[in-house]
Symmetry: C2
Subunit: 410 residues, 2 copies
């Protein structure tokens, strides 16, 4: 699982892509032998090369190649990463495509020697984070992502899988190195002085307060423990708005290389937390209070709707459940605990995006430093309250109330 | 993992044991080529053949052979069971011997073709359950089992293992078929009409009340969910007093074939729950109130001491912990949650021993049916309160208070 790199492995570049593409029989329906094939490397993630590839004569004949690098791209080859994550991603995409084909990019093939996945080029879609930063609303997003999460999480859990398949799937998706990144970057480093943390100097007093808040650390330690031990469902593991491709009609979830058996709330929380980061950013982003209020209402309504759709699409599982094994009160408790987990994990993801290594454009992209500090401080306060109050939360509306009541410290 | 039976596999019998033993070089220090080797099959479990083997000329030169059968012995070959459990048991014993050699029978070898473990014959020890039924006290037991559990559970958890080893160990100890037995027999069948349940007719009104108690079912469903999803540590998985060999000086834990990554409280609870079953049995077993009260005090003191030793022996792990990652309040919360889990799981184990398939001699062995009903009903009431009250329990003494306050319904 963590052996040496395959001898056939070599990182592709735009010069070697055409020959590679022509060598793959799975692509014979897309590219013809006499095609001139063009490509461009567009990876803006930290872990992979991503090539958009097309026929020069017909740009609609196009694919994406995603190739794992054996190190974390952002920090260079000092941080090696196993290429096994490409297998994990390919197998998770296969499961997602089976369960929710309408929200999963089609995979043409996985090349286990090159740690490479060839998949549909979502050329008509943009990364959701970029859209939200521009103030674009996505009217179907809540419906789509709620369905995606309900299907992928319920169908990979003990609620649907038989006892043996579930346990063998846990083993197949053991993903130590990628989980370790989350354990460190999300649950550890933001809460202490750490060389990998990144935030602007003006935020220091608020960060210092968070790093001195032992009550908060106790809660984060419990969430970290749960991330490390609670094998509830096959989670995407990195379901922020940068892993979602959207337009006005479609929603696609990409990049499940962090997939492993973990708590359902880790995915639901990623969506909620990233919507709230954008909510906090809009404190500063628009000068027109009317526009700002309107977009924030869109975001909070979306959060509420995501949860309601999730619960609604989860419901068929409960309807098939044996009520002696799982009484209604247990079913309600299960969903309430997923909500509380989502609130806690979502907040941890907000924290790390403000204090830790990998910031988000929503907030770090705010040019005016005063406005950036305000937005970041607001996000930290929303997240702190979510983490501490999550045990008492029983309705998604309470999360929105927390966000609306919060004020920046700085 | 669940493939066909090895072609070299054949169940041993007392006629074939001598040749097999002589064929194993690992035993050359124990048995000489000219030894007459004798054996007897003593398995009283449900899943295996167990041979005691000795040199006729010197009974001190002796071993035990434990061979997995491919079906559940108690119900015959209609219930097939994977022989992979012998590998699990051998690997768990290896870990236990490394961590607590003083409480683990030495393993001479594991034969992967015969699904057979050759181990030390604990000839000077008896199954603890039998001793307790006879009213024998074991003055070092609490000290020994508390140490055994603290070492084996803490040392296989994320608290001690590095992130990668822990996750690979989870995969190595995936044990679906044996976990399924627990899921069915402990968490499912006792709470419904089921053909495998076994209890005497006089207990029916109390069983009917338990099977109609939805509040109880909700709690049991949460405990089952936790058993199935909470990969906290490598648990023994079947740590009742029938898996413990004792005398006045020593304690050995045997039979970890149910080992898997689960909640620590599942082991601690097994010990507590089985001591409480014996406690309930002593309601009826002795006619002398003085003797009865004395032995019950021994049992409740033992329960308290087991927990205190467990906490004390766990302490070095916390002393090495980083207090930013794991503040003292988190450490206390961790131990409190292990206690609450132990109370819940221990109670579930009591329930199944009264209502479900595999009863315990402590109670089923009571000849007088009225006394047997009293003891069983008392055990059910202790267990019901433990399950429902566990969220509020913060001290082990509260468990003893629950037991002392409980009265039989019938």
């Amino acid at each position: 699982m963590f052996g040496d790199v395959s001898p056939a492995y070599h990182p592709l570049n735009t010069e070697t892509v055409p020959a590679y593409v022509r060598s793959r029989p799975e692509l014979a329906d897309i590219f013809r032998p006499d095609d001139v094939i063009e490509s461009v490397e567009v990876g803006d993630g930290n872990l992979n090369l991503v090539f958009k590839v097309w026929a020069a004569a017909d740009h609609s004949r196009t694919i994406v190649l995603k190739q794992a690098l054996p190190y974390v791209r952002l920090v260079g080859d000092s941080w090696p990463l196993p290429t096994d994550r490409a297998r994990i991603e390919a197998q998770a995409l296969e499961i997602h495509e089976r369960l929710v084909p309408q929200h999963t990019p089609h995979v043409y093939f996985f090349d286990p020697d090159m740690y490479l996945i060839a998949m549909r080029n979502l050329n008509d879609h943009i990364i959701m984070r970029k859209g939200l930063i521009q103030g674009i609303k996505y009217p179907h997003f809540a419906e789509h992502i709620g369905l995606f999460m309900a299907r992928t999480l319920s169908s990979t859990s003990d609620l649907v899988l038989d006892y043996r398949t579930k346990k063998l799937e846990v083993a197949r998706f053991i993903n130590p190195e990628l989980c370790k990144i989350t354990e460190d970057l999300i649950f550890t480093e933001p809460y202490r002085r750490h060389e990998r943390n990144r935030y602007h100097a003006e935020l220091e007093p608020h960060v210092a307060a968070i790093q001195a808040d032992i009550g908060l650390h106790v809660e984060v330690a419990q969430l970290k423990e749960q991330f490390m031990t609670h094998a509830q469902a096959l989670v995407h593991g990195d379901l922020h708005t940068g892993s979602i491709m959207v337009n006005q009609t479609d929603t696609y979830v990409i990049d499940p290389e962090f997939a492993y058996y973990g708590p359902m709330g880790f995915d639901v929380g990623a969506v909620i937390g990233n919507l709230l980061l954008n909510y906090a950013a809009h404190e500063a982003r628009s000068s027109d209070p009317q526009v700002r209020a309107d977009f924030r209402r869109y975001l909070t309504n979306t959060i509420i709707q995501v949860w309601y759709v999730f619960v609604r699409e989860f419901q068929p599982v409960w309807e098939r459940a044996d009520v002696i094994d799982m009484p209604r009160l247990y079913q309600e408790s299960y969903m309430r605990r997923v909500l509380q987990d989502s609130v806690g994990f979502g907040a941890c993801k907000m924290m790390r995006r403000i204090i830790g290594l990998a910031g988000v454009e929503d907030i770090r992209g705010i040019e005016d430093v005063g406005q950036r500090t305000t937005a970041a401080s607001l996000a930290l306060n929303i997240a702190t309250t979510m983490i501490k109050a999550r045990h008492h939360i029983t309705r998604i509306e309470e999360v929105v109330e927390i966000a609306e009541a919060a004020r920046p410290t700085l």
